[in-house]
């Protein structure tokens, strides 16, 4: 990448916007995923009875739907990110690339 393009991209306000938006969403979702997972691990370590309690009186315990929901949440969070990144962020990125060529 030559110096010209580099300075042009860096001084483009759209680039700052892209970096800001994408980084923020990436960290927000990462922290959310880590919180869900390590929350689960901490409950396992310190209060396993919570997950072993019966769900509505049957044999099924609270832990079963919780576990399945964590698996689904991983999929949903990736979906949210990909949707946002492949539309809004990529459009912005496309404009930055076009601007840099001129």
């Amino acid at each position: 990448m030559n110096e010209d393009i580099l300075t042009r991209v860096q001084s483009n306000p759209k680039f700052k916007e892209l970096v800001h938006k994408r980084t923020r969403l990436g960290w927000q979702l990462s922290i959310l995923m880590l919180a869900i997972y390590y929350g689960f691990i901490l409950v396992l370590a310190f209060a396993p009875n919570v997950l072993g309690a019966s769900l509505s009186g049957g044999t099924t315990t609270v832990g079963i739907p919780v576990g399945i929901l964590i698996i689904i949440s991983a999929f949903v969070l990736t979906g949210i990110y990909v949707r946002k990144a492949n539309t809004e962020f990529d459009q912005l990125n496309q404009q930055i690339v076009e601007d840099a060529k001129q």
Binding site: G52, T59, T78, A85
Partner: protein
């Protein structure tokens, strides 16, 4: 019941903690079985079909980019399946369903640990990786650092991880084939080694990826059928399934709740699983097989979906096995372990999914699932071999020895020679480790990936202050501490070396070795006042712009 199963009377596939860390290994003595023809025929159909694909791929594999990354022409959906395939090894299929069969709920905990690394890889790493790299993760780590030391480190990290993983897979393959097909151990190991070399040298990444995709599809199909049949027996009521399982299981209602675990070990295991995934070279390499960052993101989305779905299936399969196999006289055997008589599933708990295949689908389906289990190992070792070969040819040969001036034909030739050497080494190690306890190896591979590869890769993309010295010293400290702590821990010091107590109390050292790696990488980088360090920091801005926008990134080759 098939006669070959009845003859089973070995200690067989013991020890589930073994499989605690992903694609694990099969432990213990295994007795050769009577030849299972339906499984062998189906397996050879798979081999014949994938050889056809390899031939097709070989005609499309000309340039280095074709060889390492299938020319960047794989779509996000296909790559998602291939990544899921790399993850759905024989051990995670048989091992996690066996864990559910033995312990119930605890199996789900491991599944979750394997899965949650993926979203984080997507949010933080995937697109930067795709925008900066070309063939290997070392391309990214050494982007603005000195090529020779950083690539030497990255190639070392790659080869160590690949070697450990390969040994575990080879030994697992040998034992699995003895059990499933009734072939002998050494011919099974040689067969796996030879097929692996053929796929990679002739078909490169294109063949390796398609073998993985086909395997992923048939494994998902087979597992879906089994889960469907299990649920059908209880009128699609999970509550009914759990009730029946609890009524029959020796541990009773406790299989529905988590068992006690040490908090530090649990958190450390979580870290190793999450960041190890982000440092496994054969997985990282898959991000370069798609055309751009957009497809790279899609591939993680699909991979997370397929892997999550697969783990839900294995959970149902595990409970189905409790419900339909446990205490069925034709499915159980009594063996002597450590002088005591133990009643267990024929062949041990790792056979739960295989027996269940017989129970829900008959002999033919049993053969099918056995063939799929073997195909799974083949597909995984091919990916590993390609990753190891590219570390040698692209990082060591082309960049370190030839200083980036190697011609492409030579580089590919070195890659193919390395693949053959890796095949021979893998076969020899597989034979050498037949009688060894290799339970710790996959855990070690994950810990090294998390403690050596991941910190350097992560900091190279996120931290301007990283210097060559910091990366190399910190990376090697991560590698050495992960190895040392596992050797001193219970998995090796007690289980393999037969000492009374471990020098280091935890099974999973990742929380310590990852911290050490990050701290030393940071410290040495900060203290590095050399002229080259100043230059390296100055190059971060250009790297950052490319990692964000993809300007200048390697695209798909056109043909």
């Amino acid at each position: 019941m098939k006669s070959w199963m009845k003859t089973l009377c070995a200690t067989a596939l013991a020890g589930l903690p073994t499989l605690a860390l992903a694609a694990g290994a099969f432990e213990g003595e295994v007795t050769k079985q009577a030849t299972n023809w339906s499984a062998i025929i189906m397996f050879f159909l798979f081999v014949a079909f994938t050889m056809g694909i390899t031939y097709w791929a070989s005609r499309r594999t000309r340039s280095a980019s074709d060889f390492y990354t299938a020319g960047g022409g794989i779509t996000g959906f296909q790559n998602g399946l291939a990544i899921a395939g790399d993850y759905m090894s024989a051990a995670s299929f048989l091992g996690i369903s066996a864990m559910v069969f033995d312990k119930g709920f605890d199996g789900l905990i491991y599944s979750i640990g394997f899965l949650v690394g993926w979203p984080v890889i997507l949010f933080l790493v995937a697109e930067r990786l795709r925008n900066l790299g070309k063939f290997t993760f070392a391309d990214v780590a050494s982007y603005r650092l000195q090529q020779t030391p950083v690539r030497t480190f990255a190639a070392t990290g790659t080869l160590v991880v690949v070697a450990l993983y390969l040994i575990a897979q080879m030994v697992g393959a040998g034992k699995l084939i003895q059990l499933l097909f009734g072939m002998n151990y050494s011919s099974a190991v040689i067969l796996v080694g030879v097929l692996m070399v053929l796929y990679v040298t002739f078909g490169g990444m294109l063949a390796t990826t398609w073998v993985q995709i086909i395997k992923a599809v048939i494994l998902l199909g087979g597992a879906s059928f089994m889960a469907f049949m299990v649920l059908a027996t209880v009128g699609f009521s999970p509550e009914m399934m759990f009730q029946k399982a609890v009524a029959i299981h020796a541990k009773g209602i406790s299989i529905m709740s988590p068992s006690k675990a040490d908090p530090i070990d649990s958190i450390s295991l979580g870290l190793a699983l999450m960041f190890g995934t982000a440092g496994l070279p054969h997985i990282l390499m898959r991000f370069f097989t798609v055309s751009d960052a957009k497809e790279a993101r899609k591939s993680v989305f699909f991979a997370t979906g397929f892997i999550g779905y697969f783990y839900i299936l294995t959970f149902i399969i595990g409970f189905g096995a409790i419900m339909l196999l446990l205490n069925q006289p034709t499915m159980m055997e009594t063996v002597v372990k450590n002088g005591k008589e133990v009643t267990q599933l024929i062949g041990g708990s790792n056979m739960a999914a295989i027996h269940l295949a017989n129970a829900v689908g008959g002999d033919l389906f049993l053969g099918f699932i056995s063939a799929v289990a073997f195909a799974t190992i083949l597909a995984v070792v091919a990916g590993l071999a390609l990753s190891g070969a590219s570390a040698v040819s692209h990082d060591l040969y082309a960049s370190v020895i030839k200083k980036g001036k190697a011609n492409e034909a030579d580089e590919i030739r070195v890659s193919k020679i390395t693949t053959v050497v890796l095949g021979v080494v893998a076969i020899l190690l597989g034979l050498l480790f037949e009688k060894q306890n290799i339970a710790f190896m996959v855990g070690l591979a994950f810990s090294i990936a998390a403690s050596a590869n991941f910190p350097v890769l992560f900091l190279s993309m996120f931290w301007k202050g990283l210097t060559t010295r910091g990366a190399v010293v910190g990376g090697f400290i991560g590698l050495i501490s992960a190895v040392a702590l596992i050797v001193m821990g219970p998995a090796v010091w007690v289980d393999v070396l037969k000492n009374e107590t471990a020098l280091f109390p935890y099974k999973n050292p990742a929380i310590f070795s990852i911290t050490l790696a990050f701290v030393f990488t940071w410290l040495i980088s900060v203290l590095d006042k050399s002229k080259s360090a100043v230059e390296e920091k100055a190059k971060f801005e250009a790297q950052f712009v490319r990692s964000m926008t993809g300007i200048g990134a390697a695209g798909a080759s056109k043909h």
